[in-house]
């Protein structure tokens, strides 16, 4: 096992002043790599465990610098912008470093625990005043288990409040080792019907549900905040939401919150040369409001608390 401050992992963003993923003002560390393939995923750059090249045509100046520096001839310039032959690309990052317009970017940077925490700790005064801290998100943080545990463990040493946003599709042992280091846990439940869950995300839900129960049993005082992305055509119906809410209530999780589906990620699919699997489905405000009320009737928000 590497010494903790030196452990490294692949992350794709550190976002300051985040206010919706755990209490207070927080900094989110986004991990790369995820075992799920949700069709509505809004962070497609988070899925792969490897670095990836993104290309934003809106920023491109068509200056041809990237084409000139690429030793693999993976890039060509056309009237539509730069074409990337991803089979040739060796991810040497020469093009993204040379790009003056930041149109070519690499998703994924290997960083050490110490380096990340120094960045996170810049905002310590805001955490102290708001009850905030660090949230690990992604991707799936526990898909890089040793790195995630190292980060949480060092953060505990520095007395930084720690939250984790996870899909919970991880070995129970990993889940429990992480939970021991946490102050707040956010887990997504997409659907209670395992087969339907597999259709939407690529994996069944039994391990997710059993992990939630295991954490509840082992760490009853750790608040678990369950969320559901309400996706049109998948789970935007009374039955699905009610079933999740009932599970949340019965398992004794602290809070349940449906989140309205959005299409924020569609642009990033384009950057990666991918198609958006969900097309242009919409979730009406009225429907979401009704589902939110169903959720609230079964799992009322904790007293004195609005959003986290």
């Amino acid at each position: 096992m590497p010494s903790y401050p030196d452990a490294t992992g692949l992350i794709f963003n550190i976002q300051k002043y985040s206010v919706h993923d755990g209490p207070g003002i927080r900094t989110i560390v986004f991990f790369k790599g995820c075992p799920l393939r949700c069709r509505w995923c809004s962070n497609p750059e988070s899925q792969s465990m490897k670095e990836e090249l993104g290309y934003n045509r809106d920023k491109c100046l068509a200056c041809g610098t990237c084409v000139r520096v690429c030793p693999e001839d993976a890039l060509t310039l056309s009237p539509e912008g730069v074409n990337i032959d991803r089979t040739r690309c060796s991810m040497d990052q020469l093009c993204s470093r040379a790009c003056p317009a930041e149109a070519l970017t690499v998703y994924g940077t290997r960083r050490s625990v110490e380096d990340i925490l120094n960045d996170v700790e810049q905002d310590s005064v805001f955490y102290a005043r708001s009850g905030g801290g660090m949230t690990l998100s992604g991707g799936e943080p526990l898909a890089q288990p040793e790195f995630a545990l190292a980060l949480l463990s060092e953060a505990r040493k520095r007395r930084i409040h720690r939250a984790l946003e996870t899909c919970a599709f991880v070995p129970e042992e990993t889940m429990l080792r992480a939970a021991e280091l946490l102050n707040y846990l956010l887990i997504d439940i997409k659907c209670m019907d395992s087969e339907k869950h597999r259709n939407g995300t690529g994996v069944p839900n039994d391990r997710i549900l059993s992990n939630i129960r295991a954490v509840r049993a082992a760490f009853p005082s750790l608040p678990i905040h369950i969320r559901t992305p309400v996706v049109p055509g998948f789970n935007d119906n009374d039955e699905d939401i009610r079933a999740i809410a009932e599970f949340v209530r019965e398992s004794g999780c602290a809070r349940y919150e449906p989140l309205a589906y959005h299409r924020l990620g569609t642009q990033k699919y384009r950057f990666l040369g991918l198609d958006y699997p969900l097309g242009d489905k919409e979730l009406s405000e009225e429907r979401f409001e009704r589902l939110r009320q169903i959720a609230a009737s079964l799992c009322p928000a904790p007293h004195g608390e609005g959003a986290a």
Binding site: Q15, K16, Y17, S18, V19, H20, D21, G24, I25, L61, C63, T65, P100, A101, E102, Q122, D123, V125, F126, A128, R129, S130, G131, G132, R227, E257, L259, A260, Y261, H262, R263, L264, T266, Q267, G306, A307
Partner: protein
């Protein structure tokens, strides 16, 4: 959109458009809306009466001591100027016409070119000002001729050395400002100031007059200094005390005349009450809250007749000096909160109608629109260091939340033990989106001023004054307006061996060498520091000249008689000599701080460290304004930038600040003035930008420089916490030669929505206090701004928007989602 100091476009829209129509507070604030409708949206009118009367008096007193001449001029004005008791008003008095918003003239300042300016002001496309042709004729034929050769403006131009003038003016006469190292003294008689209103309310001018009389009688008739210096001062105080009382009493006569003609019995009662108040105050101590407000307004308005104080005299700590009578009236059943709010409305309406007119183009450009900020200060600590908030604090906040007028500006003092309720109500007021209140941080300001030489009691009792500045009304004695140093110009001179794009081959700065021959960042940096220091030298030099000259041109018997130290020494506040016991706190402004830091960062990183760009290539790109060189421009813009908590950029910011303070430390002692670096631009970042060609941060020719100490347009991409951390990182905590730093932060209303939004804003304010930053103000951005952000995404990069279960940066979203959010925000906005 300009990031302005204390007013915003949305506020202008409010003042022009809302006009009280269908305002939800209309029914409970009837008088406010009825009076507001009489002037709302109208261009201000120039009233020449003060200028005419002042000039007439000055013609007859030549050769006498200046303070005495000033007092006699005030007496002449007080006895002859038209007095007004406005319909519906409960607080009497104005300094000029009752036909709408108005401004008055100060020929002692710029009377030599006043007539021509008035003609051009009316023609101005934006922010026109109305001048009656007959008035223009009077100014040109009767007022201006007397002042030819006598104004402060002309004397300053005559006295400044040629090399200083070369950096300050485009023309020989000094009518056109050159924003390289410019002065602001020629378009205001005094730097921002605050009167000791508690004296007016608690003692009254009869008591001050008696004090002056007693001292006059006690003078040593054989002492030459007593006779030459003290006697005229004390006589001037007596005349001035009589003058303001005369002026107030004329309002009583008018109110009684109006009452005699009035049919409505309610209004008759009000007019008779006004008459009683005007017979009582400001001569004697106020007995009620209503009288206190009348006394405060009389003093404030009369001080406007006395002097053009830059950005208008401020209101001081209103929740402190008005509190005893408020409390007494409430306890004795004389006053309800509703009545107090109505009196505040009446007072704010009087302030909103008086406009601070800048006749010179230079003055107007640094203070665009009709900006004036007679800041009201609330909260903070008592002179003993206890929390000072009280019921009146909250009532004033409520009043400013309700009022659809941007005036007066509201300043809140924050400290470590500010009550949670105070911060919550501030948050709720910020969320209204009118751009106020601004925050002042006791935890920075008080210890810093003690370190600068203030006694703790005065420091604890400081008040906001003007834009981001403070005053200790019985300790501060420096009223000379400062100079502005264009940091963009200093950098341009470094890149062009002392020359500037706009001025071709003319040598504007030092010849620090051809930068193409510099081989290290250290060489470049020391050349830059030499250019910056060279400009700061002129700021100091000009300041000394301004300070010496002002004493020969301005006197302020009213403001002096309200100042403990002036009364003790029998010296006028505006004199050039040191007033015993006072501290001389002044400043020079650096304009374009973040533009400079980002540019230096790009040069250091790409030219000297990574060597991806040669100095020659950079200079050629700047020469051609990046035409055809967009890739290079983008690359330069990708360097670490100020406002992102990036140690690379923040360290440069700290070094720039330190180099400036090093100069101050070295030369302050010999000037006797504490002239510190201030990072407040108001709207001067725009004209300063017009002086400077393209810069290495990618900014193009003549575009605005960054405002105050805020990050460059669109440079702050890491959110608001990172912006505060950069401020902290770039301050030199071991130095004391720093003055105000102004910081603007924008939030979308959605981001602060609901109770949770308020809670976050409160945490943010607490963190601001912990970080000991001087000043902070918020723009809460509306739908219109999001549309503008779509059109100019580069300038709105840092705008945070709440989407669904999370927040993101607006300009990083696709056009479609942006459109979606714009539609959502409309019903989501506050």
């Amino acid at each position: 959109m300009l990031d302005t100091c204390c007013y915003s476009p949305q506020e202008q829209i409010l003042i022009a458009g809302a006009g009280g129509k269908s305002n939800p507070h209309r029914n409970t604030h009837k008088r406010l809306f009825e009076i507001l409708e009489t002037f709302d949206g109208m261009p201000p009118i120039i009233d020449i009466e003060r200028a005419r009367l002042f000039t007439a008096s000055m013609k007859t007193t030549e050769g006498q001591p200046l303070v005495l001449r000033w007092a006699k001029a005030l007496r002449h004005i007080a006895e002859n100027i038209t007095v007004y008791v406005d319909d519906r008003q409960l607080i009497a008095g104005r300094c000029g016409t009752d036909r709408g918003r108005y401004g008055i003239l100060y020929p002692e300042l710029d009377g030599d070119f006043m007539g021509e300016s008035m003609n051009s002001l009316a023609q101005r496309a934006s922010a026109p000002i109305h001048a009656d042709p007959e008035d223009v004729r009077i100014v040109i034929e009767e007022i201006s001729p007397y002042w030819q050769g006598k104004t402060f403006h002309e004397d300053l131009i005559r006295t400044l050395p040629d090399d200083a003038k070369h950096l300050a003016y485009n023309d020989e006469k000094g009518h056109s400002t050159r924003f390289i190292c410019s002065e602001t003294a020629s378009y205001r008689s005094s730097q921002q100031w605050v009167l000791d209103y508690a004296k007016v309310i608690n003692r009254g001018f009869a008591s001050i007059r008696a004090e002056a009389k007693e001292r006059l009688d006690a003078l040593d008739a054989l002492s030459p200094t007593d006779m030459l210096r003290k006697k005229p001062f004390l006589e001037a105080v007596i005349i001035t005390c009589d003058a303001i009382v005369t002026w107030a009493r004329r309002h009583a006569v008018l109110a009684r005349e109006k009452a005699a003609r009035e049919q409505n019995p309610d209004r008759v009662r009000e007019l008779l009450q006004i008459a009683e108040h005007c017979e009582r105050v400001p001569e004697f101590p106020a007995r009620t809250f209503h009288e206190a407000i009348q006394a405060q307004w009389f003093a404030q308005a009369f001080s406007r007749l006395e002097q053009r104080t830059g950005t208008i005299i401020s209101n001081g700590r209103m929740d402190q000096y008005l509190y005893p009578l408020f409390r007494k009236d409430k306890e004795e059943g004389r006053l309800s909160d509703e009545q107090a709010l109505e009196l505040f409305d009446c007072l704010w309406l009087n302030m909103a109608q008086f406009t601070d007119l800048s006749l010179s183009a230079g003055g107007a450009a640094t203070q665009e629109g009709y900006a004036h900020w007679e800041a009201v200060t609330i909260g903070g600590q008592t002179p003993e260091g206890a929390d000072a908030t009280n019921e009146l604090t909250y009532l004033i906040l409520e009043s400013r939340r309700i009022s659809p007028m941007p005036y007066p500006d509201l300043a809140t003092r924050i400290h470590a033990r500010s009550p949670e309720r105070f911060l919550w109500e501030i948050a709720e007021t910020v969320k209204v989106g009118q751009g106020y209140p601004k925050l002042f941080n006791d935890e920075e300001i008080i210890p810093l001023h003690v370190a600068k030489g203030a006694d703790p009691r005065s420091a604890y009792d400081y008040t906001a004054s003007g834009c981001a500045e403070i005053r200790m009304p019985n300790l501060d004695t420096m009223t000379s307006a400062g100079c502005q140093v264009n940091l963009g110009a200093a950098l341009e001179m470094t890149l062009r061996n002392g020359r500037m794009k706009k001025h071709g081959d003319a040598l504007m700065g030092l010849e620090t060498g051809d930068p193409r021959e510099f081989t290290t960042w250290e060489e470049f940096w020391s050349a830059y520091v030499a250019q910056q220091t060279h400009l700061i030298k002129y700021a100091y030099l000009n300041q000394m000249i301004i300070h010496e000259l002002r004493g020969r041109h301005f006197a302020g018997p009213l403001s002096s008689c309200l100042h403990d130290l002036c009364m003790a020494s029998c010296m006028d506040l505006h004199c050039s000599e040191h007033i015993p016991g006072g501290i001389e706190l002044g400043f020079f402004d650096v304009i374009g701080f973040s533009t400079l830091v980002d540019s230096l960062s790009a040069v250091r990183k790409f030219v000297f460290e990574e060597r991806r760009v040669s100095m020659d290539e950079l200079i050629r790109a700047l020469d051609c304004n990046f035409e055809g060189m967009e890739p290079l421009r983008r690359l330069l813009g990708s360097a670490p930038r100020f406002g992102n908590a990036d140690p690379y950029a923040d360290a440069i910011g700290k070094a720039v600040d330190r180099a400036a303070q090093d100069y101050c430390r070295r030369y302050m002692a010999e000037t006797g003035l504490h002239i510190d670096i201030r990072t407040v631009s108001v709207t001067a970042n725009v004209p300063h930008g017009k002086e400077v060609g393209a810069l290495p941060n990618g900014r193009k020719d003549w575009m605005p420089l960054s405002d105050g100490s805020s990050p460059s347009h669109g440079a702050d991409v890491k959110g608001p916490t990172a912006t505060l951390i950069s401020q902290y990182n770039s301050k030199n905590w071991d130095y004391t030669e720093r003055a105000a730093r102004l910081l603007n932060i924008k939030f979308s209303p959605k981001c602060l929505e609901g109770e949770e939004g308020s809670r976050r804003l409160v945490s943010f304010i607490r963190a601001f206090c912990d970080l000991k930053l001087w000043h902070l103000q918020f723009n809460v951005i509306n739908r219109e701004t999001l549309v503008a952000a779509q059109d100019e995404p580069d300038r709105y990069k840092g705008l945070i928007i709440r989407i669904a279960g999370y927040s993101a940066y607006f300009t990083e979203l696709s056009r479609d989602l942006q459109n979606d959010l714009i539609a959502r925000t409309e019903h989501g906005s506050i």
